[in-house]
C-alpha cells in the first residue's frame, strides 16, 4: 500500500483514474465527474471511448464550428468524432454494454457497499423524480466498474458503506473505488486499500464501517 501525504483534488482524482485505465481498452465515462477523465487520457494509449447514445471513437468536446447538433455525448453535449469511429442504434449500443464488451466504465456514486453494490441513481426522497438513464446498464455491463467519488459526503458520512441505504443501481458490480482519500479494490469479499491520500489505514478503519485490508 502506498501512502500519499495529501488528499486528491478533483483534477488529480481524474488523472489517477485515467492512469489506471489500461491502454487500448474500450471505456464508457459516466456523465458528471467521470467525464473529466477523458482530459487526462494519453492519446498514444489508444483508449476508445463509448457513448451509450450510439458511438465508439468519441473525441473531445466540440467547440465553435465543430459543433454538430447530430453529434452529442450521453450528457447531450456536442462532441467530436475520432478516426476509426462507428455509429449504431440504441439497442446495439446497450447490447454492447450489457453483453460485457466494454473493458471499463467509470461512474459517480452516492454510495458503494463493501461487496461492490452501487447506489448512484436515486436519492430515494419521496418527492424526487426517479431518473436512471444508462446507469443500471453500465453497472451490470462493463468488465470493470470504477467508481470515482469523495469518500465522505458533505455531512461527513462515509460513502463507502457496509450496506447501501440509497436505492441500489446494481448488485456487487463495482471493482474499484477511487476517492479523494484512498483507492479501494473490491473483489466481492474483501475491500483492499491500495493507496491513501492524506490519511492512514487506521484512520480509514476508524471512520468506515467496512472491514479493510491491505495487500500482503
Amino acid at each position: 500500500m502506498i501512502e500519499h501525504p495529501a488528499p486528491l483534488t478533483r483534477v488529480e482524482l481524474a488523472r489517477l483514474v485515467a492512469r489506471d485505465i489500461p491502454p487500448n481498452s474500450y471505456v464508457n465515462l459516466g456523465i458528471g465527474q467521470p467525464t473529466a477523465v477523458a482530459d487526462h487520457l494519453d492519446p498514444a494509449h489508444g483508449v476508445v471511448l463509448h457513448t451509450e447514445n450510439g458511438m465508439l471513437g468519441m473525441g473531445p468536446h466540440a467547440h465553435g464550428d465543430d459543433v454538430d447538433p447530430d453529434l452529442l455525448n450521453a450528457g447531450k453535449t456536442p462532441v467530436t468524432e475520432l478516426p476509426g469511429a462507428s455509429y449504431f442504434d440504441h439497442a446495439q449500443s446497450f447490447a454492447m454494454m450489457r453483453g460485457g464488451h466494454l473493458d471499463v466504465c467509470v461512474l459517480g456514486a452516492f454510495q458503494v457497499a463493501g461487496d461492490g453494490t452501487l447506489a448512484n441513481w436515486h436519492t430515494g426522497a419521496p418527492d424526487a423524480i426517479p431518473a436512471v438513464g444508462g446507469a443500471m446498464d453500465l453497472a451490470v455491463g462493463a468488465k470493470d466498474v470504477f467508481v470515482m467519488m469523495t469518500l465522505f459526503d458533505k455531512t461527513g458520512a462515509p460513502k463507502l458503506v457496509r450496506e447501501c441505504t440509497y436505492p441500489v443501481t446494481g448488485l456487487r458490480c463495482v471493482s474499484r473505488v477511487y476517492t479523494d482519500q484512498a483507492v479501494f479494490h473490491l473483489d466481492g469479499d474483501r475491500v483492499l486499500v491500495t493507496e491513501t491520500y492524506g490519511t492512514t489505514m487506521s484512520e480509514l478503519s476508524a471512520r468506515l464501517d467496512v472491514p479493510l485490508t491491505t495487500a500482503p
Partner: protein
C-alpha cells in the same frame, strides 16, 4: 409501400386518441421536431409517449406535454435541468410516469419489432425498478423478465430516405430511430431529403423500407 407525404399534417393523419407513440431522439439529435409539432397541432389526446427523456425546454416533446395531450410517459431519464414542463405536470399529478433503465427501454422496443415475447435481462435486477417483476437466476446471475413495448405509431427523424422508404441516419441522431421504426404499426419518418430508388447503397441502409409507412421532408 411507403407514402411520401406532402406536409407534416398529412404525415400524422389518422393517429387515434389513446395511442402509444414512440418518439425518437436523444436530446435534440434525432428528435422529430416537425412531426411532434404536427401531432400537437392536431391535438390527439390521451397519448402514451415513449422517449428516452421527458422533454427539454419548451419545444418538441416538452411542448407536446404542455398541452396535456400526453397521459403517460415511458422513459429512462425524466429529470433533466430543463425538464420543467414535465416536472410541473408530474408534481400536479397530471401525467403518469414509468421509468425504465435505458438499455431495457431500448431492448423492449427492439423485442416488439422482433417478435420476442419477453426476455430476461440482468439490468435492474435487485433494484427498485425490478419490483413486482418476475426474477430468475440464470447462470448464477440475477435477471428480471421484461416485456416488449408495442406501439401504434412511431415518429422518428432520419437523414435521407429513398422512395422505397429505406432510411439512413446521421451520427448520434441514429439512436432510437432504427428500433422504433420496427415496433409500431405506423412508422412516420421526417427526413432532410428523399432520393430516387437506387440512390442509397444497399450495404449502408440502416432501416429497410419495410419498416416505414410515411416519409415527409422537413427543413
Amino acid at each position: 409501400m411507403v407514402e411520401i407525404a406532402p406536409d407534416t399534417d398529412t404525415a400524422v393523419r389518422g393517429i387515434a386518441a389513446g395511442s402509444t407513440v414512440l418518439i425518437g431522439g436523444f436530446g435534440p439529435a434525432g428528435q422529430p421536431y416537425a412531426l411532434i409539432d404536427a401531432l400537437r397541432r392536431v391535438g390527439t389526446g390521451d397519448l402514451t409517449v415513449v422517449n428516452n427523456n421527458a422533454g427539454n425546454g419548451s419545444t418538441g416533446l416538452a411542448a407536446l406535454l404542455a398541452t396535456g395531450q400526453v397521459r403517460k410517459i415511458i422513459c429512462s431519464f425524466p429529470r433533466q435541468v430543463d425538464s420543467y414542463v414535465f416536472e410541473e405536470l408530474y408534481a400536479e399529478g397530471r401525467i403518469e410516469l414509468e421509468v425504465a433503465p435505458q438499455g431495457n427501454l431500448a431492448e423492449r422496443i427492439r423485442a416488439a419489432g422482433a417478435g420476442i415475447g419477453a426476455f430476461y435481462t440482468p439490468t435492474g435486477a435487485g433494484t427498485m425498478l425490478a419490483e413486482g417483476k418476475e426474477a430468475r437466476v440464470i447462470d448464477g446471475r440475477a435477471h428480471v423478465l421484461e416485456y416488449p413495448i408495442h406501439a401504434d405509431v412511431a415518429l422518428i427523424r432520419a437523414h435521407t430516405a429513398d422512395e422505397a422508404g429505406n432510411l439512413v441516419y446521421r451520427k448520434t441522431g441514429r439512436n432510437f430511430g432504427p428500433i422504433m421504426a420496427t415496433a409500431a404499426r405506423l412508422t412516420i419518418a421526417e427526413v432532410t431529403r428523399v432520393v430516387p430508388v437506387g440512390t442509397l447503397d444497399p450495404e449502408t441502409v440502416v432501416t429497410p423500407g419495410i419498416y416505414v409507412d410515411r416519409v415527409v421532408v422537413t427543413a
